[in-house]
């Protein structure tokens, strides 16, 4: 979390530099970095119901025109829940344990975004879609003993958000969005990966 703070400070520092290059139209290439909060849904929530406050997302985009852009993004979320001691029956077996359920996910997605307003707007709402793959690291702890399964899954993530430029035609914008994540991922008690995720951060258009 300390490193997140450092990044944000660096970003704010470079904000001044970028404004010096402000011009009437934004350069097509942009880069964004966001802090993410994710809420597990469905069977993922049964496995580990706690909201993930340990997440981030980074991406870049190339604007084909004022409305449409293509890019890629990567991120991280960490789902976690600890259960009090219980007896887990198996076949000819009973295990008394404090279970800690964790799942770390690292999605890597190709993205397409469409702006619902022109570049001169004070607030630019947009819709986007990410399609790609996610690394799912399943780690279920029985006491201090871990049962681990690492897998890649297909992931699709539609997204709605806004970009708020710091001044007209500013290359730096505040980005806030909500995305839904779905991955057909089956491991043990998880039958599908579903989560809703909120991201907030900065987006820079750079030369």
């Amino acid at each position: 979390m300390k490193s997140i703070k450092t990044i944000i400070l660096i970003l704010i520092g470079s904000l001044g530099v970028s404004s010096a290059f402000a011009q009437s139209s934004r350069p097509p290439f942009s880069f964004n970095l966001n802090y993410s909060v994710a809420q597990p849904l469905g069977s993922l929530s049964d496995y580990a119901s706690k909201t993930s406050f340990r997440g981030w997302q980074a991406g870049f985009q190339y604007a084909l025109n004022d409305r449409l852009s293509l890019g890629a993004k990567a991120g991280f979320s960490d789902f976690y829940e600890r259960f009090p001691r219980a007896v887990y029956p198996g076949k000819g077996e009973d295990v008394s344990a404090v279970q800690t359920h964790t799942l770390q996910t690292i999605p890597i997605l190709a993205t397409v975004q469409y702006n619902f307003a022109g570049p001169e707007a004070r607030v630019i709402p947009y819709g986007g879609l990410g399609i790609g793959t996610a690394n799912m690291n399943y780690e279920k702890f029985w006491g201090e003993f871990v049962e681990r399964e690492n897998k890649w899954a297909f992931q699709v993530s539609p997204e709605l958000g806004i970009n708020v430029p710091f001044g007209k035609y500013s290359p730096v914008m505040l980005n806030a969005n909500v995305q839904y994540n779905y991955a057909p991922y089956k491991v043990q008690e998880i039958s599908n990966f579903n989560s809703i995720q909120a991201n907030i951060g900065l987006k820079f258009h750079i030369q």
Binding site: W56, S96, Q104
Partner: protein, 213 residues
């Protein structure tokens, strides 16, 4: 070049974040939370058909192909707890010469320096493990039915095996283990944890009782 530099630094920063953001389950885990108590039982066995048991007079300590029998304060308390728990379930403690229905083998395993399999029974045949001859069946083997376990780790643990002597001459000169308990995790060799661990393994094995009970 400026753009490439920014992207590369972003990737570097990203890699850093991957490793630092995760909540580590072991960081805030107490010793009590770290321990697991596994019991395995033969699904074919009817535990009410047994009435008497006998228990070994010391504990086999197996560590890194070196093994010995010990009787520390911990071992005395462990053997005592097992006796009273089995008696509370209606089994009668008898001398091993009095043809007990059940034999209780107790083993401490220090597996910190090697990584042997962890299926119940792997320690049978290990030098130092209770020889079948101790129970009056020299040259026989122990046999553990197809138990299932998920774990494999380097650690200290305790194994308690309940062996069927009543139906001993069944097949292949084998003594069948019908119940096994494993205590695993931090502090299992600590005497002050023995009472709660013994209670746990018997509580999760309600089927383990004599007919008269």
């Amino acid at each position: 070049m400026k753009r490439t530099g920014m992207i590369l630094s972003a990737i570097a920063v990203g890699a850093l974040l991957f490793s630092s953001c995760r909540k580590e389950p072991l960081n805030d885990m107490t010793e009590e939370e770290s321990r697991i108590y596994v019991t395995n039982y033969d699904e074919q066995a009817d535990f009410t058909t047994y009435n008497t048991f006998s228990i070994v007079d010391s504990v086999a300590v197996i560590s890194n192909r070196d093994s010995k029998k010990e009787l520390t304060d911990y071992d005395i308390k462990l053997l005592g707890n097992l006796k009273s728990s089995l008696q509370a379930r209606g089994y009668t403690l008898v001398d091993k010469s009095a043809k007990p229905d059940l034999a209780v083998n107790v083993t401490r395993i220090d597996n910190a320096y090697n990584s042997i399999g962890y299926n119940p029974g792997w320690w049978t045949g290990w030098p130092g493990y209770w020889d079948t001859g101790y129970w009056g069946y020299p040259g026989w083997n122990y046999w553990f039915p197809g138990y299932y376990t998920v774990f494999r780790y380097n650690e200290r643990s305790v194994a308690i095996d309940l062996v069927d002597l009543k139906n001993a001459p069944k097949e292949n000169n084998q003594l069948t283990a019908i119940w096994n308990a494993m205590l695993r995790g931090t502090g299992v060799w600590n005497s002050s944890n023995l009472d709660s661990m013994t209670t746990a393994i018997f509580d999760q094995s309600p089927y383990l009782k004599a007919s008269g009970n």
